[in-house]
């Protein structure tokens, strides 16, 4: 049976397509080296529109109004610009109530777009621009360690990784955050209170890598200006041992958090990337693999959610689970040597 692969890799080649939500200008150049926070593209779009109903204002037909309209599509108009001037002894002038760009004119109406908003697209990962996607973004490649998570607050930042944990289920409290951590990315376990997040923001830190996050903290975590990534999900799940080992062994290195929101359809996931120097590029990770004996797997659901083990036996047919359900299942040996029965659909491959 095929299973999705959760990437927790000490060394791999990582390629990420970064694209604008709307068409814009790509500022990155082919083969350019970028850091995760470098802007590679930008776009502007109008936040609001203003509809000027010339025909109605002048109490004339749409056709008649069209003949009086003095602006055309793509014209940039300032506030107060004459949009149309009526005829007659006492002619009335219709002016633009706000500055903007004419996006439509006809049918006796003029539509302006106003209030430009802009978006700047960051590289998201440190690496080399290997392909430019005209008007939309770029493909960036790097080599390093990759740890994928399950929840992110949408921010991107790089910094030195500092480990504040002694074990994978440690709880980070506000009292452990002091000024020496300013500007760092913190490897924490669980965060149970809002105060800890606020203290981290006050320092400020450059990022938090959590094992899991309480749903009650999500609204505050979303507001934080630094990236927060939860590796294993929600509640009080200890960090999976593969991710924990990899992160702790890379403490004091420069790491990047791209806390992109999990999107089940596009495959976007929050991730931690640790760029590493290599003489030869390793292969890119695969996204799907076959569940086979010997594969390293991660449990996706209770009672061992997040735990890492080795698939030791694929049971034929259906197996009875403690829940009473019958399903295709496998025997998995956990790191403490305990052997457990896990439904295949609750497994993902680590690699």
């Amino acid at each position: 049976m095929l299973a999705p692969v959760n990437h927790i890799l000490p060394l791999t080649t990582i390629e990420r397509e970064r694209i604008l939500p709307v068409a814009g200008t790509v500022t990155a150049k082919l083969n350019q080296k970028v850091s995760s926070t470098d802007m590679i593209a930008e776009a502007t779009w109008s936040r609001e529109h203003v509809l000027i109903d010339v025909a109605r204002a002048l109490s004339i037909s749409a056709n008649a109004a069209d003949r009086l309209i003095r602006v055309k599509v793509d014209d940039k108009v300032a506030e107060g610009t004459e949009v149309a001037v009526g005829k007659g002894i006492i002619s009335r002038t219709i002016r633009a109530p706000r500055g903007g760009r004419v996006v439509a004119a006809g049918g006796g109406q003029v539509l302006l777009e106003t209030g430009d908003a802009s978006v700047q697209l960051k590289a998201g990962i440190p690496g080399t621009v290997v392909h430019i996607i005209p008007n939309r973004g770029a493909l960036i490649r790097t080599v390093g360690a990759l740890i994928q998570g399950t929840w992110g607050n949408g921010r991107i930042e790089s910094g030195v990784l500092l480990n504040l944990t002694e074990k994978s289920d440690d709880v980070l409290s506000a009292s452990r955050l002091d000024v020496s951590l300013r500007g760092s990315i913190i490897l924490a376990g669980l965060v149970k209170d809002v105060e800890t997040l606020r203290t981290a923001a006050e320092l400020p830190v450059r990022g938090l890598i959590l094992s899991s996050i309480s749903p009650g903290l999500l609204p505050v975590a979303q507001q934080m200006r630094f990236p927060i990534v939860a590796i294993d999900g929600f509640g009080q799940i200890p960090m999976n041992s593969a991710a924990y080992k990899l992160l702790t062994s890379n403490a004091k290195r420069d790491v990047t958090i791209n806390a992109e929101a999990f999107n089940r359809y596009t495959g976007a996931r929050p991730e931690v990337i640790i760029p590493l120097p290599v003489s030869q590029e390793p292969s890119e990770p695969i996204d799907v693999d076959t569940l086979e004996v010997g594969k390293t797997v991660r449990m996706r659901r209770a009672p061992h959610a997040g735990a890492i083990g080795t698939l030791t036996k694929l049971h034929p047919g259906l197996s009875s689970l403690p829940s009473g359900l019958r399903a295709k299942a496998a025997e998995v040996k956990l790191e403490n040597e305990e052997k457990i029965l896990v439904p295949l659909v609750n497994l993902e491959i680590v690699g």
Binding site: H49, G235, L321, L325, P343, V345
Partner: protein, 584 residues
């Protein structure tokens, strides 16, 4: 039935859900259509696969393993019709529910006329209504344009005006819709369904035809002020859904090739079969179909051939689970738990499950939380659906469910329960049926596939429904009573065909089961006590012939509406007792 009347011999039907893809084979056995077998595989609409084809092929491959029949060729193409060597099938049908709910903007005129009908229409498909506009919308046209742009709709439903009635106001709103579409990048423009004043059809074509990838028309959903007809529009909306999926979900195009463009939304197909059954039913009672799955909770109720279909993505058991707490309190979920579990654990579960909707519970605790959530979402879906039931729905009391016979239940959450008793108890708790009804479990989730098959073959659903492919859970007698807890409310006598009988006196608050196996029949004599009502009026006796089921005859004297004890310890004890009553 002469074999010559059969239109095709074999039919392969595939249902692509958010979590699972099922392939089902129907074929002719001794001159009758029969359900042969099914194959299942995890769905592959989501990353990392991002193409439903893989899941479809795997489900069919698993079906091939079960049946020993080759259905796909070496290039994974469907073999059709049946070949000389026995490989292949004669016909193919498919339903689809995978993917996020479509983002919809609903436009009408009057809030209590076309807007209401448009909202009801939107509820017949996997839609999430992001914005609504009506005649009384206080926003200026440019604000409406910005609201549509912010909504990023996949579809805009345009309604309003009775046939030959108002047109100017609709045209005004249409201008805003057109301008908003014009401002969107071409590849992101929504599909548009017009189901309003039919005299505006040409005008709509002229104004919006070039501003949408696909403009659909249906007869007016409010042809007159006092008439509502959602059926044709609902059918067209199903087509729009398929078109949107074809546009943005890889693999749907290929599936459409196999179905000759007739891939149906699963909920629509389920509604179609319920309407079909309702037409055949010929009683004053309705027919109820419920489907609880990852994408949505679906309630389809047929009354005298008329269908009320409610599709509620907000009550699906997948990616929308964290949003459930916008519609209900955590305590409302907790009340259904037979185990002592902290609210924080239930809240964490909602979020964690949304990450991996295709996973299944491995422990009793995990399973208990899942079933508590299922009870609550099905309960909420029923309450929502009730609002749209027609006046002809026969009610015993305004605050209770109408009378239904039978109730058909399917969807992963119901069909995958460890025991039939657990499925039954979940349904009794969530739906709280009244009177005498039978409950049938669609354990192979065939109903929507039969609905899809009926598109081209009316005989197949009828014969499969009669064939025993569904699991009858039994006959349920629900007692409404003003009596207090522990007071006798019903005297029951079940006389078996061999003359023996089983008797019981059921007290208020009790849940009793009298055995009556599948295929058996018996005479059931019911004598309500203390002004209790079993659907015929307070204190009125009934003697009926009943058919058996996996659970037999179930007397649910726990009251309607079901009121649970406030004390959590006592409540959990009761739940354990009820679970024990239905076999654990």
């Amino acid at each position: 039935m002469p074999v010559s009347l059969l239109q095709d011999n074999s039919l392969l039907a595939v249902n692509v859900g958010a979590s699972s893809t099922r392939a089902v084979l129907f074929d002719v056995v001794e001159g009758q259509y029969r359900f042969i077998a099914s194959g299942q595989a995890p769905s592959t609409a989501e990353a990392p696969y991002k193409d439903i084809t893989l899941g479809v092929n795997q489900a069919i491959a698993n079906l091939q393993t079960v049946t020993g029949k080759t259905l796909l060729d070496q290039d994974n193409q469907l073999i059709t019709p049946v070949q000389a060597d026995g490989s292949g099938v004669d016909a193919f049908a498919a339903t689809l529910s995978a993917g996020p709910a479509l983002r919809a903007v609903v436009v009408g005129l009057l809030s209590d006329v076309s807007m209401q009908s448009a909202q009801r229409l939107a509820e017949t498909a996997y839609l999430q209504v992001i914005e609504t506009f009506g005649l009384n919308d206080p926003r200026k046209p440019d604000e409406q344009i910005d609201a549509i742009l912010r909504a990023r709709p996949d579809i805009i439903i345009l309604t309003g005006g009775t046939d030959g009635g108002a047109s100017r106001s609709i045209q005004k709103i249409m201008e805003s819709v057109g301008l908003a579409c014009y401002l969107m990048p071409e590849e992101k423009r929504p599909m548009i369904l017009f189901a309003g004043n039919q005299s505006l059809t040409d005008s709509v074509k002229q104004s919006l035809g070039n501003l949408t990838p696909s403009l659909h028309f249906s007869p007016n959903i409010r042809p007159s002020l006092d008439t509502e007809d959602l059926v044709p529009a609902s059918r067209e909306l199903a087509q729009v859904f398929s078109d949107v999926r074809k546009r943005n979900m890889p693999g749907v195009d290929e599936l459409n090739t196999w179905t000759s463009g007739r891939t149906l939304p699963t909920a629509y197909a389920e509604g179609r079969i319920i309407r079909f059954l309702s037409r055949m039913n010929g009683t004053s009672r309705g027919i109820l179909g419920v489907d609880l799955g990852t994408t949505a909770a679906v309630v389809a109720a047929g009354f005298n051939g008329k269908l009320t279909l409610g599709v509620y993505p907000q009550f699906g058991l997948g990616e929308n689970l964290p949003g459930l707490l916008r519609y209900t309190q955590i305590e409302d979920i907790m009340r259904w738990l037979p185990l002592d579990i902290a609210p924080s654990v239930v809240r964490d579960y909602l979020y964690q499950r949304s990450l991996y909707p295709g996973t299944i519970p491995a422990t009793k605790e995990d399973h208990a939380i899942g079933h508590a959530i299922s009870r609550q979402v099905l309960y909420l879906a029923m309450q929502e659906a009730r609002r749209n039931f027609p006046p002809e729905a026969r009610l015993l009391r305004k605050d209770l469910m109408p009378l239904f016979e039978p109730i058909l239940a399917g969807g992963g959450a119901l069909s995958d329960a460890p025991t039939p008793g657990q499925s039954l108890l979940l349904l009794l708790d969530a739906l709280q049926p009244v009177g005498i009804t039978s409950i049938i479990l669609d354990q192979n989730n065939l109903l929507p596939l039969l609905g899809a098959a009926s598109e081209s073959n009316y005989l197949l659903p009828v014969q499969v429904l009669e064939s025993g492919a569904f699991m009858s859970l039994g006959t349920i007698v629900s007692v409404i009573s003003p009596a207090s807890y522990g007071t006798p409310v019903l005297r029951v006598r079940l006389t078996y065909d061999d003359g023996s009988d089983a008797r019981a006196e059921v007290k208020f608050g009790g849940l009793e089961i009298l055995p009556l196996g599948m295929g058996q029949t018996a005479r059931l004599t019911l004598q309500p006590l203390n002004r209790s009502d079993i659907g015929n009026g307070a204190g009125r006796n009934a003697t009926i012939q009943v058919a058996g089921g996996v659970m037999g005859v179930v007397i649910d004297a726990r009251g309607r509406p079901l009121t649970l004890p406030e004390d959590p310890v006592r409540r959990r004890e009761l739940f354990k007792k009820w679970l024990w009553s239905v076999g654990g």
